[in-house]
Symmetry: C2
Subunit: 596 residues, 2 copies
């Protein structure tokens, strides 16, 4: 099936009506980026996404990548689509003007990733990983390294990867073993095996620039002895021309549950030539400087699969005729009613709608804070945005991907047995989606980051900017009786959030395992809370719009219905999460490992 | 990976220590079936499951079935395993003695399905569907039909299928179109296309007996005009010998998310010869007489995948070294601690353990009621067991498969990125599992059956036998302070359950959509409640065992820990479900279909 339509109306609503993107762009020095220009840009991206990438989604899944004589071959059509992407100048969007980029806000680049990634996430990862590599070189490279690598990467002529994981070192990068021996010419000789390298090898571009974590011979053990290197697949002369092949080989492709169109490689570095990026032994710190971007980016995957699933299941629910409504026949001319008349189908659709549009709001909210943190000239504002972004990042990554999986799973369920077979694409969508809560830090890792590092690590201070915004919104809802009930629910929750955080902090003083015991429940609780804040904001915006005649009142009515549904049927999940957190660590830790 | 081990200890605990299977067998006339004999039987089944079926699990997934020149070819090894199964006499277990069966209790047959299905569900479906067909012929066939078909089916020489679904008729069988024209010789000429026919064609057996739903030319529209037919793939002479091929062809195999080793067929009936089973236009009623068995059987699939996932993720969590425990180094000799020291990994393992063992208790509880309903000579007892089974059936089917999917998904999550690749088998396990909430009636359909037909349809009467058992257990826990807190939680919940049921009944008088709006939440609530009852029972049993010296105290300690975990961290989900139910149908029904 290929009837994916970019949700341009909802993207526009979220950016311009909810978050006033016009003023935002003006404030960060991009006054030219108005609603008209941005929309024209999204329309063009949507045309490419729908016309070229969507039909290649199932092709990529069914063909997968092949390793033939040491070379990785991508599915038919992927290379031409990538060429199209480069020709249109898409990779240049948010990159440095000095090396051929357009220097537009990061937020725009992230939304481009959403538009292109939704119909074909596996393809989008080739482009996405490349952006990560560019960002790393822009931030930590020497001027010479930038000149050597960035123009070709930014044009799309080359792509990039991030090589972190090894067989024994996944969540725990401190265990990694890849070695980097200094050479007399100032380069390093890199040796080791990296696994799970997305887009690690392929035939889309003429070179691949690997960003690799490795240890110097005298480096301290653990995370403090890791350095970052740039290791091209084909060596590059100082003027950027290609030279001989480097010692990097793809020795295997992983057989995976989904995202078959993306090559997940085992990469063998055998005396490969690499160059240090940034400072010795600061490799992990350097990686963390762009973790926000990477994690906000991977949170998008939850949004992508939730959106695709929602569109398909909604279409099916309107067309599929089975049984009659219990309140009387609705489709007199037909043999049965469309299943969208049945309450349980609506429950599944509205769960999807409130999650899809909720995590879109969450993602854009974080993106806008990222722009401010990167571009604001007001240092207070910048600091506040940085703090808020740092709090939101693990929520965006983990909540969006968990909620995205739930949503994609309900989409499949709406189709009954038809969801399980290939035709409607929903089983592929669920398989593709499943990786998102695992890579770029599992949900467990994100939750420890949120609760341990961000909240407890700051003594709760990082909660404050968000609590302030919530409090302001609740006050603004005071004068509207259609909003006061939800505002009161939200205000109560935000007090509970603070209280919960303090309780866990107190318990953790006696037993550090209390943090891990509460972390995932705490993260999910936080996600539902932030979504309640955003749905209240959306409800308020929709009511404001409906106060005057509008072209599409149905769009706003649906926003109101989704907000109502969210507060009534999704937000109460927080109650169970609180009970689970409050039960403490003992019920997890008391059983001996051998007795499980 | 192939290290699956049949959970014989837990099967034994659940049957004999929890449910006193010895007395049960004696009461239904199988006094010879004692603990020793049953155990020997399970050990033999386990040997076949672990030695033969488990290694074929990944083979079936990777090879799938092929349709070559109109013939379906199953994966390598499936046919030999099936022959082994027949040679050992397994298909005969619970079938009529008169036609070659052993006449043992149905419960034993269901547990055999669990043992054989867990390592390889796709293979198990060939045997499982066949049991359904035999049961139908045993119940509705004429003596001649029984003699003609049952001996070959019971020996396993032939297999059977159930042919219900058509493209336009899934959940709504009233829409089915297959036609049955009466012939002068008393047979019928069957024409139509059936889809999603599991085990619909294959090379394991010399003939396949299809049980087919179709309409007579003058039949009333809807569900009241459907009749049941027996339609062999190869025609059978009166003495049971094979004759010419019948007009049934497999025209396509579905490409599915999982269970690749089972052939899901499109079957074309073109003037096939069929014979009426039971009465004209009573086809659906006849099907419903064995729905309990079929649905309790498909609920097992949730148990199977949850068990397999739990075993693998537990093994991984004990072996995989990543990071140190926050409460101090646990594995001094190693570079890191096994991840089972981390609270969140334990949360995921205990969620699995409490669900796996919980749904095993639920399944066996229903099986035992099924035996009583079939064999008890005390008519009150028989009626009570029948009522309780009828209430439990949709819960066993839908709750077990939903909880099984959650559990299998957490198993994958425990492995991080390694869960997403083929090696550990957990991605196949999740794909295979995904069908279970869809076929044999989706979760939505089961929920309507529970709330609409069973509970509200009886004015709440069907709740009574279970409420009585819960109340008895709570009283028995009065004298033990280690149990009183949980008993009080359970007693409160069982009152709430009645109240909820009455509230929905009242609301449904004004708006029938209130039933559909609450149904799935109600079913999940009921499932958590029944599991709380069973976990309290298990906790009590474990405490009793630990009161004297036992050979494996760790086994009982783990039962206590899982019960504690279940009451503290899983059961509170009921609170959110109640909030969602209480919010009513309006938040689902008010939005126009076009505005979604």
């Amino acid at each position: 099936m290929n009837n994916y339509q970019t949700p341009l109306r909802d993207i526009d609503f979220t950016l311009f009506e909810l978050f006033d993107y016009t003023s935002h762009c003006r404030a960060i020095g991009h006054a030219a980026l108005d609603r008209e220009l941005t929309s024209a840009f999204f329309v063009e991206a949507a045309r490419f996404a729908e016309g070229v990438l969507a039909p290649l989604g199932p092709v990529g899944d069914q063909q997968g990548c092949k390793l033939v004589d040491g070379k990785v071959i991508t599915p038919i059509g992927f290379k031409a689509a990538y060429q199209h992407y480069c020709d249109a100048g898409w990779p240049t969007l948010s990159r440095s003007v000095a090396y051929g980029g357009q220097g537009l806000p990061q937020s725009l680049g992230v939304i481009l990733s959403e538009i292109l990634g939704t119909p074909n996430w596996a393809w989008g990862m080739y482009a996405g990983l490349s952006q990560g590599a560019m960002h790393t070189i822009e931030t930590h490279g020497t001027e010479q390294q930038k000149q050597q690598y960035l123009p070709a990467l930014i044009s799309g002529r080359w792509t990039g990867t991030m090589c972190l994981t090894e067989a024994q070192a996944g969540s725990d990068l401190g265990l990694l073993c890849a070695r980097a021996e200094p050479q007399p010419d100032g380069s390093y000789c890199i040796t080791g095996t990296k696994i799970f390298i997305s887009s690690g090898d392929h035939d889309l571009a003429e070179n691949i620039v690997h960003i690799v974590l490795a240890r110097l011979p005298d480096a301290p053990a653990g995370t403090k002895g890791i350095s970052l290197f740039v290791v091209p697949k084909i060596l590059v002369k100082e003027d950027g021309a290609l030279a001989a092949a480097n010692g990097v080989t793809c020795t295997a492709l992983e057989a995976k549950m989904g995202i078959h169109g993306n090559a997940t490689c085992v990469l063998q570095f055998e005396g490969a030539k690499g160059w240090l990026l940034g400072e010795v032994n600061k490799g992990l710190n350097h990686m963390f400087t762009f973790m926000n971007l990477a994690r906000v980016g991977s949170g998008l995957q939850g949004l992508a699969h939730a959106e695709l699933g929602y569109q398909q299941s909604r279409l099916y629910a309107r067309e599929r005729l089975q049984m009659r409504s219990l309140t009387g026949v609705k489709n007199i001319a037909g043999p049965a009613d469309p299943i969208i008349v049945h309450p349980d189908i609506r429950r599944m659709l509205l769960t999807q709608k409130s999650l899809v549009e909720g995590i879109r709001m969450l993602s854009y909210y974080a993106n806008i804070k990222m722009d401010v943190s990167q571009h604001s000239t007001n240092s207070d504002e910048c600091q506040q945005a940085t703090d808020l972004l740092s709090l939101l990042t693990p929520i965006v990554k983990a909540f969006s991907t968990e909620a995205g999986f739930e949503s994609a799973n309900l989409a499949l369920q709406c189709l009954g047995g038809h969801g399980y077979i290939r035709d409607w694409g929903l089983e592929q969508n669920l398989r593709d989606c499943r990786i998102a809560t695992l890579y770029e830090g599992t949900t467990g890792i994100q939750s420890l980051d949120l609760l341990g590092r961000k909240v407890l690590g700051s003594g709760g201070k990082t909660l404050e900017p968000l609590l302030d915004e919530i409090s302001q919104l609740c006050h603004m809802c005071d004068d509207n009786e259609q909003l006061t009930a939800h505002a009161a629910q939200l205000a109560t929750l935000s007090q509970e959030w603070q209280q919960l955080s303090m309780n866990i902090a107190r318990q953790a003083q006696h037993n550090p395992d209390e943090i891990g015991a509460a972390a995932v429940d705490y993260l999910m609780y936080s996600g539902y809370l932030v979504l309640a804040f955003l749905w209240l904001k959306a409800q308020r915006t929709a009511l404001q719009q409906l106060a005057s005649p509008v072209a599409d009142p149905g769009f706003y009515r649906a926003k109101l219905a989704a907000a109502e549904f969210y507060f009534a049927r999704i937000l109460p999940r927080t109650i169970s999460l609180v009970k689970s957190m409050e039960s403490g660590a003992d019920n997890l830790m008391s059983l001996a490992s051998a007795d499980f």
